[in-house]
Symmetry: C2
Amino acid sequence: MLGILTIGTELLTGFIDDTNSSWLGRELTTAGLSPKIKISVSDGVADIVKAIESFPDDVTDLIITGGLGPTHDDITLKSISDYLGIELEFDQQYWEFLRERFRRRGREIPEINRNQALVAADQDIIPNPVGSARGTIFKSGKRRIFLLPGVPDEMKAMFTASVLPLLSTASEDMQVKIIRTTGIWESVLAEKLAAILERYQDIQVAFLPRMIGVDIRLISSDTARIEALKLALVNKCGPYFYGFDETGLEEVVGERLVEKGLTIATAESCTGGLISHRLTETPGSSRYHLGSVVAYSNAVKMKQLGVNQDTLATHGAVSEATALEMAGGVRQALGADVGIATTGIAGPDGGTAEKPVGTVYIGYDDGDTRRANRYQFHFNRYWNKRISSQVALNMIRLELENA
Amino acid sequence: MLGILTIGTELLTGFIDDTNSSWLGRELTTAGLSPKIKISVSDGVADIVKAIESFPDDVTDLIITGGLGPTHDDITLKSISDYLGIELEFDQQYWEFLRERFRRRGREIPEINRNQALVAADQDIIPNPVGSARGTIFKSGKRRIFLLPGVPDEMKAMFTASVLPLLSTASEDMQVKIIRTTGIWESVLAEKLAAILERYQDIQVAFLPRMIGVDIRLISSDTARIEALKLALVNKCGPYFYGFDETGLEEVVGERLVEKGLTIATAESCTGGLISHRLTETPGSSRYHLGSVVAYSNAVKMKQLGVNQDTLATHGAVSEATALEMAGGVRQALGADVGIATTGIAGPDGGTAEKPVGTVYIGYDDGDTRRANRYQFHFNRYWNKRISSQVALNMIRLELENA
């Protein structure tokens, strides 16, 4: 059985998110090796030892991350070695190697890095292809302890190259499939799908609600069954389904644009550039994304997007008419096939009785179809921006899929 | 002593980040109640019980989140009640209340929500001001167990209103101070500050390295000492220091612009709108942020930003000359005081021997100062965009602070 221990006071005081254990969880689950328990403790010697002892005995593989950096709060190697009664030795050769690496970047190595040349006697070293902190494989009775650094890129490279191959004696590979939806509440979706799920009780199903949509995760070792359930759910979800696994809505929009040979441009007020930022997260997005105009001021809306002064005066910047003119304007100005526009009140200030914080108009213009919808979100600035970007991308997707 | 248990298979399989426990950690630490151990388990009855039992006996307050939603994978309340030998009762009055709430939004309540009307007999209920899942305070010997839902907004509101006041009998309030830096490596920063930290061994200090900077966290109950260390560190950090606590670099840039009464506009190629998105995360940013032109195609660079065709032909789109013309161009086009521009190769494709992936030029133009720097980042598309946006914002900050 597999356990994960993440070390760092910052993980308990919450000043950093424990993304390492999430990543490990995904890698392990996909390899059919779901971790059963995960513990986080602060980086004190006593706490680390107590945490190791509190894992059930049947945890035969324990992956530990964190506490191998050069600064004074990094004490994991020493704690575990002391606990297991293993000496630490100074690896002069590795120290010279580190010194040389710093020199090539034009720097003297800080003395503080000496810690990183310490190794536990007679234990296996896990090489670090990315950084300077190496890992260790401790043997402790029936248990193997894999000690990895906390820096994500280093931990990941080391886990993939040196740890996973040692663990992968799993009897069966688990299939994990995620079905992504947006635009529907979790409980409504769950009820809609309940009859189908009744027939697939052999498959592990979980609803993962997020602010910008609900993911449905399926886990099973039975490829045919999981494939059948996947198809049944996709079919039932209809327009709410947009993609599988890690696929973002921005990728799906990109695929639809490429299929149709269309280009896009965005005109953003309340989203401030977020839609364009998301579209450009996808490699190769320059094939279809021409660019955007973030028009935070009315002057920019008029000058760069050709919004009429009359429209702004009569209907206001946050209005259906302005959203439509922005979408059409950016399409023309940048020579794109599709224009999408957002204008709204992200908050916390600027709301009125008629148009409270969270009022957002999203405009779409592809030359044939021109439409703008009004939305009322009930969140803070942070989420109003993100949900607006999601709704806008979804509007593009639905228009392209229905056209 | 305080422990946290987060429940959900998705937390172990890593398909969702455990941001709830991070938030709880921050709130508790600030109240002088640092949690000592944190465990995550999957949402099976046996696992939940095993996890509760594996907390050390001196954990007298245990906060549990997750597993109270309406879908079938939510079983926490039942598991804990069974474990403690407490009956569950159906609260008809609350069911009517939920039904009415759905009705007001024009929907029938799904039957699946009936779970949420179950309550543990004779235990205190924690009201939910935001959603439909209520919490429970179980008494179990010397231990109190606070059961909260996993939906972040609901959990936070309930914790703040109903749980924290019960916990806050801490003898002393801890001060937490975070000093944020960017543009310097962790080990170099640690060595630079080592002599100062030697003199403050009574204060808990941690270095928190992130891709876009290193935070230094100080914890102590001694207000005067922590204040003195804070000042000494800020002084020694010099230009690398940019703010305290949760303050983002984009907020600091906004403050500097407001102080000087200046407006800004961005011209973004490789960052795709991310700088503008970040600037508009700050409430009130419309006072200084006029907008931006995301110029992903050369045509947009020429038409919207006035970049010369000759410049693009001679130097290429990724060049110092183009970055300068973009910064000047957006400044003029949008009528802003300061223009900032990015052009580079985010990857994974598009690199050449001369300009490999990660080559980024950042241009700055405020009418007096015009400069463009070349950077070489060694990351993937995701990080190349984020680090470019950080370096660009930092360039604005440094120019404004030095001017």
